[in-house]
Amino acid sequence: PLPQESVDPQKTAFVLRKAWTLYSVTPLYRFRRARLRDYARLLGAFIAAEKRKGLAVEVGVELDIKVALATLADLRGSELDQAALLVQLSSRSQASSRSSEDKLVWSGWFCSVFGDDLSENVPEDFTSLPLFLSHGPESYTALVGSWFQKTFDCCFRRLAISPQNLSWMVAMWAGCKLDRAASAVELVFSVPRLAQPLDISYAIHPEDAKALWDTVQKTPGEITQEEVDVFMDCLYAHFHRHFKIHLSAAKLVKVSTAVAAAHCDGMVKILQSQYLPGVLMLLTELAISQIQ
């Protein structure tokens, strides 16, 4: 199944149990790791300037935004990958300036996990970090995004996840071995062409899901499209037997397992640190195929 590399759980704890919005990012032009402090200052100035222009994030609240950029050496697949880049926006409101407590208001990070497909073909002077994850108000995401686009001539696009990819994810993640008791495997479908939208939620006991996947998967460590199709067909057939509804005619919009949850609008929540590299590798692959 998924690669489990020894990643320092402390450094990656911030990733877990948060809902991240996903973007694909084209390679950054003339990005220099040594200049992170300069970039932080420039981004901070840009945000302050935009606020003064009246594009304020929070109206009526005076927020001083501090920007921090850091490299996360551990978050990468192989030595060929660029190390991840973390951007954090913290606020120090005027009221509590005496207590000098910074409150984290937004975070975003760029990464590449086994993104050789893209980084191999990228010309010199370009840094390949195709996956971007953000958590926090959309307005800050827009500000940070537009600064990066202007400064490094790159392009951000929301990462959409198709029902096909979601099927792949649920099959992969439902089959993961977990030490602790796992939560249910849940699939959410949206039924098209109805006067009022209808969502169907299909929850499966995690042990049953894993047992099913184990009978389908032929080679441990390898997953094929056929195996994913058989797994999904079994789930659809079971549902049809009980409810006479063909889930295969509906649109799979969200999958949720004990390892991670993903939504077709490009949102993910990762719950287990041991499978983090595997999940990021899959998301990196999706980001790269959206770019190409």
Binding site: S162, P163, Q164, Q225, Y236, S248, A249, A250, K251
Partner: protein, 130 residues
């Protein structure tokens, strides 16, 4: 004549005109439509597969709503020796062009185009795919 699956109800067999072309529609957003087509194929007489069957894949405009692998559909077309057309019904231009293509194919299959038979036409299409 429009049907949601095959076989057609035998009650109306004697009223039905000759069928010149069968177009199987697969919605790329619905895995169910592919399964439905696969089971319906079994009810089609073998002689139809000499140029009187084609697969029409709809909804290809929305890459992000894809529930079926296009590879699987192309393999289906190869297995049954029939052409696969891709279209997006929501775009009027493509809808009209596709309708015109199907109409032209129907004319050939019905024998209305002198010098071109259904079989010769489908082998032309197959060669252009390679």
């Amino acid at each position: 004549h429009l049907a949601t699956s095959l076989p057609l109800p035998s009650k109306r067999d004697h009223l039905r005109p000759r069928i010149d072309l069968v177009v199987f529609m697969i919605d790329i957003k619905s895995k169910y439509s592919l399964k439905n087509v696969e089971t319906s194929l079994a009810h089609v007489d073998a002689s139809y597969f000499l140029g009187k069957v084609c697969f029409l894949v709809t909804g290809v405009g929305r890459v992000n709503a894809c529930s079926i692998e296009t590879n699987a559909i192309c393999k289906l077309g190869e297995a049954y020796g029939s052409p696969v057309l891709f279209c997006e019904l929501e775009l009027e231009g493509i809808r009209v062009a596709t309708a015109q293509r199907l109409l032209r194919m129907l004319q050939i299959c019905a024998g209305h185009v002198a010098g071109v038979s259904a079989l010769s036409f489908v082998s032309l299409m197959r060669n252009s795919d390679d």
